[in-house]
């Protein structure tokens, strides 16, 4: 029994199966919310599952000029990195495997999918994918710094680099959660950029460069890339939940998981509102915005947290 449990964690909960199902559900939730806000009907609940299943059955076409082995393996690298990141993020009361400094490891692991997107676009060699790949990298340098800076603030206040302990600290001091609002805002906007959603869906802006970095991807490989993006949404929401919203808020077992689901749905709702409200901006406007406005907000949060830490002793 002891030897089966870790596999169950990895494959069923909170590993692959939970991530995949909840990721696809969040995709539907997001699409439905946007549809309602845009005065449309929106897809039925099983639409993402149907899309994914359909893609699994489709033919795979690898461009002649592409490196076949790399082209085929990239989607799985993306999924593996996202799944690994979740191991250290608390879904219930505590993470599966937490250690001092796991926050840095999670940030690092969440960068890997973006790098695979770049490699996917670059190795496809078509003009649209090449431009998309360049945009992926440019965008990475824009949002990554504000995202990291905004995560550092709460860590300083909690005095730990362990995500589970940060969550526990804020569960114990719920009043301090309110003081993290600027950092939370910066993190949400940066996460929107990381997930490449409107108004930051620049790397695959369909009106400009068709499918962007994924233009040449078809069938199963494309399906897994989409799944990786959906999973990234869950992991990103879970990360923000752990760092800014106090994780399980002191609850146990099933209640803790219910709290997790409610709060990630709320984060998905905020992200959907961001998506609906704005027009897509240009890549140079995005870089400007992230460095000029978002990074200073995140730094102000750090200053505030250092001050609070000093005051609280």
């Amino acid at each position: 029994m002891e030897s089966i449990l870790p596999f169950a964690y990895i494959i069923i909960f909170p590993g692959f199966l939970f991530l995949a199902v909840y990721g696809l559900f969040l995709q539907w939730f997001d699409r439905k919310l946007c549809a309602v806000m845009q005065n449309r009907v929106g897809p039925p609940w099983f639409q993402p599952f149907a899309d994914f299943t359909k893609l699994l059955a489709k033919e795979i076409i690898v461009p002649d000029a592409a490196d076949s082995a790399m082209f085929r393996s990239l989607p799985f690298f993306a999924i593996a990195a996202v799944m690994t990141a979740l191991i250290s993020i608390p879904v219930g009361r505590s993470a599966l495997f937490s250690f001092q400094g796991d926050m840095v490891a999670v940030i690092y692991l969440l960068t890997i999918p973006t790098v695979t997107f770049f490699l996917a676009g670059w190795s496809s060699t078509s003009p649209y994918s090449t431009v998309g790949a360049m945009r992926v990298l440019t965008q990475l340098f824009a949002y990554e710094v504000p995202l990291m800076l905004s995560l550092i603030g709460p860590a300083i206040l909690a005095g730990t680099w362990n995500l589970t302990e940060i969550a526990a600290f804020f569960s114990a001091h719920p009043a301090l959660i309110l003081l993290q609002a600027p950092g939370l805002f910066a993190a949400l906007v940066a996460l929107q950029g990381k997930l490449e959603r409107m108004p930051f869906d620049i790397p695959h802006a369909k009106n400009e460069i068709v499918g962007g970095q994924f233009t040449e991807y078809t069938g199963r490989l494309f399906g897994f890339f989409c799944l990786a993006v959906d999973m990234e949404m869950v992991v990103g929401a879970a990360l923000i939940n752990a760092v800014f919203m106090g994780g399980s808020l002191g609850t146990h077992g099933a209640a803790a998981i219910a709290v997790f689901l409610v709060k990630t749905l709320f984060i998905a709702f905020l992200l959907a509102v961001l998506k609906v409200l704005m027009a897509r901006i240009r890549i140079e406007q995005m870089v400007n915005f992230c460095w000029k406005y978002l990074a200073p907000v995140a730094m102000a949060q750090i200053a505030l947290d250092i001050f609070l830490k000093y005051k609280l002793g």
């Binding site: 845009q38 449309r40 649209y128 431009v131 409200l277 704005m278 027009a279 897509r280 240009r282």
Partner: protein
Amino acid sequence: MSKITIPLGPQHPALKEPENFMLVLEGEQITGATVNLGYNHRGMEKVAESRTYIQNLYLIERVCGICSHSHTTTYITNVEELAKAEVPQRALAIRTLIAELERVHSHLLWLGVAGYEMGYETLFMYTWRDREQVLDCLELLSGNRVHYSINTIGGVRRDITAEQKAAVLKRIKYLEERTQYYIKIATQETTLLARTMNVAKLPPDIAVKYGAVGPTARASGIKIDVRKDEPYLIYDKLDFKMITHDTCDVFGRVVVRALELVESYKMINQILNNLPEGPIAVKIPMKLAPGEAVNHYEAPRGEDIHYLKSNGTDKPERLKVRAPTMANLQSVAYMMEGGWLADVPLAIAAIDPCMSCTDRAVVWDAKKGKKTTYAWEDLRKLGIEHYRKRGVDFTKL
């Protein structure tokens, strides 16, 4: 950084109709652009020569899906001029009414497309939902949503009843409110401003040089509008302003179109409240005496010119259509150069292109520097040959 060439079209998500733009990119910036046309040629001018004036009405309507009324009205004005017919005032008023409703439908559609091209899907969904109101008006008045077919030679096909008038006025009132909301969005929303301000600049002198017309020219501060310059139908009796803007960019084009919507609502109210009494059509002979006529018309996208030559039979000798997109397309290449790749879809969309109206076929002999056009029989032969090479023979069917 090395240069790469990106094809935008003929098949591309940003384009609603096939056309092709070859863009030379340096990073994200465009250093060169060429426009290639001709993917949507249908030979309509040629076909028109083998049909009667009445039959042509339905052909000309299908030149464009959006300015269908514009093309038929210009064509019919030519026919009536050649027949020296006196069209009743009530018919002219109804034609003007449909023309303005068409402008409302076209500008709302454009606003949505512009939103879509800049990744603002909410604006797209909202404007297209409201556009349904004006399509309902058109359906109520003419029986059709897109190809209204309200025109007939010598007048209009349908009269307007008191109930229809009330229903249209009610919908226009709703649209007036919604348009105020869109004007607020277009002039205040931060990301929308960031995407439209100083994008696809077209200075007034360049606009004149390349012959831009319609809202594209008016957004560059040029006072050009056939409705004011040379009033046709009943525009001389209506009170409306010519809208111009001096920013010369996509923002100006958005503002011009949005404010023109307001002017159109004003005109629709005026026409419906002062509809002249009388018959709606007069009889016109099937055969027209030899002669030529040229007329122009302010379509939603700009000046539309039709030339018609009659030869004493019931079929035209020659029909020539100069759609507004033809005039505006020259300036697109200028607008794109030096800009960002992200602005290309918007620059193209900002002239509200309509390719199917524009494409023509001319055979150009580069060696001799001569151009020839195909006759209908030649085109037929060419088509049969083309399919025979691919193993299909239509002549045996």
